[in-house]
């Protein structure tokens, strides 16, 4: 079988990038983001991107890298503005922004990957989010119709993966990665640990290989922490 294994991020993205495309990027804050793929997209110079991601990184890291180079035209997110540049670009009209409630965003992506063009949710009824959307009564409650979301490319980050594209995420670094893996016309995964096929617990695989077109072990992972909160060690 033609291998899905690639040497690095640039190789994994070969042929998958074009100006004006839509890219989904996994992660919540800086947790579980595809660091190597974001850097490779920056280096590729591809422009005019619509990026679907819950957040947009920070200055100088994560998706913030693509803001700095002006490669992103539009963000579809639930919470942004952790960085100054985002605010500047947005207020000066150089960046479009579509807000989705976090759960609606997650479900839209799940629906896109699952062949569901639209679904109804209570979230956002009676708010700005409802503008222009169908509102419908089911059993005496009002719901909004929301559409499924897909992308030309989904980039995800997993903890472990194999050459078949089977992936396992770790702790809260899972977040948006599994749904996005299903919703990209092309899906590329970077993993911290590439393991032999057969090593992963078959009952514990979060993303079956069918969803993954290319996989590689990331060269290095910075895994920056956005808000370090700790408590002092108790002394015995």
């Amino acid at each position: 079988m033609a291998s899905k294994l690639r040497d690095d991020a640039a190789a994994a993205l070969t042929g998958a990038l074009f100006d004006g495309m839509t890219i989904m990027s996994g992660g919540f804050g800086l947790c579980g983001i595809p660091e190597n793929l974001i850097a490779a997209i920056r280096d590729s110079g591809v422009r005019g991107l619509t990026v679907i991601s819950n957040n947009c990184g920070v200055d100088g890291f994560g998706l913030g890298l693509l803001l700095a180079t002006g490669q992103i035209d539009k963000m579809i997110s639930s919470y942004v503005g952790e960085n100054k540049l985002f605010e500047q670009l947005y207020l000066s009209g150089r960046l479009q922004l579509e807000f989705n409630p976090q759960g609606t965003l997650a479900e839209r992506i799940r629906a896109g990957g699952a062949g569901i063009p639209a679904f109804f949710t209570r979230t956002g009824v009676g708010t700005l989010v409802a503008e222009g959307k169908e509102v419908r009564d089911f059993d005496g409650e009002l719901y909004l119709m929301e559409r499924g979301l897909t992308a030309d490319l989904a980039i995800v980050k997993a903890w472990k993966g194999d050459a078949e594209g089977n992936l396992i995420y770790r702790k809260t670094a899972r977040n948006f990665n599994p749904m996005m893996a299903t919703a990209g016309r092309v899906t590329v995964a970077e993993v911290e640990h590439l393991v032999p096929v057969g090593d992963l617990d078959k009952d514990a695989i979060h993303t079956p290989g069918i969803f993954v077109d290319a996989v590689f072990q990331g060269a290095r992972f910075e895994k920056r922490i956005e808000q370090l909160t700790t408590r002092p060690k108790e002394v015995a």
Binding site: P101, T172, F176, P232
Partner: protein, 213 residues
């Protein structure tokens, strides 16, 4: 002598029941975890994808793969489980979380909540707040009774963009506690903070409310 932030958190903690699954927002709601009554065990959900949130890690032991919805480093418990954000909000939207305690900018007498956007200021986004108020079975808002300017925040109708319409069940401010009927039958003042009078509350409130203290 109004309630402090800690007093408000302690009052909110009285809404917890043994076995509850609870989602706590950022700010004062986070403090509620410090006031869980003895003999009561609750499980904290973090909407990015975790059930069973533990305390902050010890210095030097933070794990970048383990954060809460406020993006703070946290720890896990024996009982914890992880899931995707889609599964997390399925849990929230499906009504499986018993209680959500969150902050507010404005609350209306019919239970509308505004807490995500001030027009003219940079909008950071609603995150999971709209899903939480729409999906969680009981929603408690904890906020100061008035703006720094003295303007009331418990209103006849919110003038800020809504997070949800008819979603608040209980409002806890530094002046007291209000029960709100989501179906629009009105609000009732049920508790007063120490030393606060009904007259003071009336003078600082735009919302109509009955007195039940």
């Amino acid at each position: 002598m109004a309630w402090t932030r800690n007093d408000m958190a302690a009052r909110a903690a009285k809404e917890l029941r043994d076995g509850f699954y609870v989602n706590l927002g950022i700010g004062i709601p986070t403090l509620v975890a410090n006031h869980i009554p003895p003999g009561i065990s609750v499980t904290l959900q973090s909407e990015n994808g975790m059930l069973g949130m533990g305390p902050f890690p010890y210095e030097g032991e933070a794990d970048p793969d383990l954060i809460n919805a406020g993006k703070q480093t946290i720890t896990e418990l024996d009982s914890s489980s992880y899931f995707s954000s889609a599964d997390s909000f399925a849990m929230i939207r499906g009504g499986h979380i018993a209680l959500s305690i969150l902050g507010g900018m404005q609350v209306s007498q019919t239970g509308d909540l505004a807490n995500w956007m001030v027009p003219g200021k940079m909008v950071k986004g609603m995150g999971g707040a709209m899903d939480l108020v729409a999906g969680v079975r009981r929603v408690v808002v904890v906020m100061d009774h008035v703006e720094k300017s003295g303007a009331p925040k418990f209103l006849g109708a919110c003038n800020l963009p809504l997070t949800g319409a008819g979603v608040v069940d209980l409002l806890i401010t530094d002046l007291g506690v209000f029960e709100i009927d989501r179906k629009g039958s009105g609000a009732r003042l049920t508790e007063l903070a120490t030393g606060v009078t009904v007259e003071e509350v009336r003078s600082k409130t735009e919302a109509a409310f009955d007195i039940a203290v």
